[in-house]
C-alpha cells in the first residue's frame, strides 16, 4: 500500500514537472507534447494502441516463457554432466558475446516481419540470465545435502528434483527477475528492426510522421506494461523464495 502511494506521488510529481517544463519553456508539441495532449491522444487512439500493445505483450510473454524454459533446461543439463559443461558452456558464453541487437536484422530476414523474430530476440536476451543464475544455484547446492543424498542412496533424478532444484530456486528467482527486465527490451528491439505491428513499431511510425504525442502515448503504455510485468514476476519470485527458503 505504501509502495502504491509512493509510486503515485512520484508519478504525479513527474507529470507536474513535465507540464511545467512544457509551459515554462514554451516547447512546441512536436518536440515535447504536454501530458494532457498525450493523455488525449492515448484516449482518442486507444483501440489502435491497444491492438499494438496486445502484440507486444504476447511477444514479451512468449519470449519470457520460452526463454525461461530453455534457460532452465540448459542449466539442468549443464549441472548434470561435466561433458555437457565442457561442450555447451563456451556456446553459452558466445551467445552472450554477440550483441543480440546485431542479430535482430538477421532474425527478421529469416523469420519475417511477424512475431517470431521478436520472440526470438526476447528469448535470446532472457535465456542467458536464467540459465546462468539457475546453473550457479544448482552447482552451489550445499555439500552436506549432497552428502546426505549420497549416503541415502538417492537416484540421480531424485537428488536433482528433491535437493538441487529446490536449493537453487532462490538463484533461479534472481535470474528470472533480470529476465523480466530484459524481455520488453528484446521485444521492442525486434520490432524496431522490422515489424508491421507492436508498440515498438508504432513508436517508430509515429516518430517518422512527427506524431510525437502518439509516440509518447505508446511509450507510456510500454512503460506500464513493463511495470506490471516486473510487479507480477517480482511477486512470483518472492513467493518462490519464501516457499523454499523460509
Amino acid at each position: 500500500m505504501m509502495f502504491l502511494i509512493r509510486s503515485l506521488a512520484a508519478t504525479s510529481f513527474i507529470i507536474l514537472a513535465w507540464q511545467a517544463l512544457v509551459t515554462l519553456a514554451d516547447l512546441p508539441h512536436f518536440i515535447l507534447p504536454s501530458p494532457l495532449r498525450v493523455a488525449t491522444t492515448l484516449w482518442e487512439m486507444k483501440s489502435l494502441i491497444a491492438s499494438h500493445a496486445m502484440i507486444t505483450t504476447i511477444e514479451i510473454l512468449l519470449g519470457l516463457l520460452i526463454g525461461t524454459i530453455l534457460g532452465v533446461l540448459t542449466a539442468i543439463q549443464l549441472a548434470q554432466s561435466k561433458l555437457t559443461r565442457y561442450i555447451i558452456k563456451p556456446v553459452l558464453v558466445l551467445t552472450q558475446a554477440l550483441p543480440v541487437f546485431a542479430l535482430a536484422p538477421l532474425f527478421t530476414l529469416w523469420l519475417g516481419y511477424g512475431m517470431e523474430s521478436k520472440i526470438l530476440v526476447a528469448v535470446l536476451i532472457i535465456y542467458f540470465p536464467v540459465a546462468s543464475a539457475f546453473f550457479d544455484g544448482l552447482m552451489q547446492t550445499p555439500k552436506g545435502w549432497l552428502d546426505l543424498a549420497k549416503v541415502m542412496g538417492a537416484t540421480p533424478f531424485q537428488r536433482l528434483w528433491r535437493v538441487q532444484i529446490p536449493a537453487a530456486l532462490p538463484s533461479f528467482a534472481s535470474g528470472l527477475r533480470l529476465a523480466a527486465v530484459y524481455a520488453p527490451i528484446g521485444a521492442v528491439i525486434g520490432e524496431w528492426v522490422g515489424a508491421s505491428k507492436g508498440l515498438g513499431y508504432l513508436m517508430l511510425l509515429a516518430n517518422g510522421r512527427a506524431k510525437i504525442d502518439l509516440m509518447f502515448a505508446a511509450l507510456l503504455v510500454l512503460a506500464v506494461l513493463t511495470l506490471i510485468l516486473h510487479y507480477l514476476v517480482g511477486k512470483f519470485c518472492d513467493w518462490l523464495v519464501n516457499k523454499y527458503q523460509p
Partner: protein, 242 residues
C-alpha cells in the same frame, strides 16, 4: 532383526597434507554401540566420513573392511554434526526424505510414530525455520532412525538437547538401533559411559579403548559404575586439548 556386521578400520589419514591420525586400528563389533570421544579437531568426524564414503577430501592410506567381506555401499546411515534439514520441507517430509530419494514407498505411519516418540507431535507439520535447535536435531535423528541400515553413524546427535530430553533420546535411540552396528561420536563422557558397549578415545597419541562398566546398556544415569567410568573418561580428556 536383520543380521549385523562388524567393521574394521585401519590406517592413517591426512587432509591437504596435514596428518590427522596415524596407524589407527579400530574394530566396531557387530551389533554393538561404540562411542568415540576425543578433543575437537582430532578427526572424529573424519572417521565417520571415511565410513560413510564421503571422504573425497581425505587422503586415507589404509583399509576399511566388513566382517562379511561385502562393500559398505548403501549399508550406512549417517547423522551429521549439523542437522542438514531442508528448509522447504516440513518435519514429516524431512523425516521421509530418504525413502523419497530412493523412490521407495513412504511410510508415513513410521515417520509420525518416530516424531511423536521424539516428542515432536506438535511439530510434525512445522518447518525447520519454526523449530528450536534441539527440535531440529530431533528431526534429524528421526530422519536417521527411519533408515533401515545395518550400520549407523551418529555425529554428536544429542548435543543440542537439554539434559532431560537428552537422556530420553539416548534411551529411545538405543532401543530403535538395537542390534545395529553404531558408531557414536560424542563430547559427553556421561553419554559414552551410559551407552557405550565399546568406548574409544582418540587423542594426539592415538586411539585407546576404555574399559566399560559391567552394567548392561542403557545404563541408569546414576548407576555408580557408570559414574566411575564417566569420571575416568573426563580425567583422560582433561589436559588433552593441547
Amino acid at each position: 532383526m536383520t543380521h549385523s556386521v562388524g567393521i574394521h578400520i585401519k590406517g592413517s589419514a591426512s587432509i591437504a597434507g596435514k596428518p590427522l591420525f596415524d596407524a589407527l586400528d579400530m574394530t566396531l563389533k557387530a551389533g554393538q554401540w561404540s562411542c568415540l570421544l576425543g578433543p575437537s579437531g582430532i578427526g572424529k568426524t573424519t572417521i565417520l566420513y571415511l565410513l560413510a564414503d564421503l571422504a573425497d577430501h581425505v587422503d586415507f592410506d589404509g583399509e576399511i573392511s566388513l566382517d562379511d567381506g561385502k562393500p559398505l555401499l548403501e549399508r550406512v546411515s549417517y547423522m551429521a554434526q549439523t542437522d542438514l534439514l531442508m528448509p522447504w520441507l516440513s518435519a514429516l517430509d524431512n523425516t521421509l526424505i530418504g525413502q523419497r530419494l530412493r523412490k521407495e514407498p513412504t511410510d508415513h505411519q513410521k515417520a509420525q510414530n518416530l516424531l511423536t516418540q521424539l516428542g515432536l507431535q506438535d511439530h510434525i507439520n512445522s518447518y525447520p525455520s519454526a523449530m528450536s535447535g534441539g527440535q531440529r536435531q530431533r528431526v534429524a535423528l528421526a530422519r536417521t532412525l527411519m533408515e533401515e541400515r545395518e550400520i549407523v553413524l551418529l555425529d554428536e546427535p544429542f548435543s543440542a538437547l537439554d539434559a532431560g530430553t537428552r537422556a530420553d533420546m539416548q534411551a529411545l535411540s538405543a532401543r530403535w538401533l538395537k542390534g545395529k552396528t553404531v558408531l557414536h561420536v560424542t563430547h559427553d563422557p556421561a553419554e559414552a559411559a551410559r551407552l557405550g558397549q565399546q568406548i574409544f578415545l582418540l587423542q594426539e597419541d592415538g586411539l585407546q579403548q576404555i574399559k566399560i562398566p559391567e552394567t548392561p546398556v542403557v545404563r541408569a544415569v546414576d548407576d555408580p559404575e557408570t559414574l566411575t567410568c564417566q569420571g575416568h573418561l573426563l580425567r583422560l580428556l582433561c589436559g588433552s586439548s593441547a
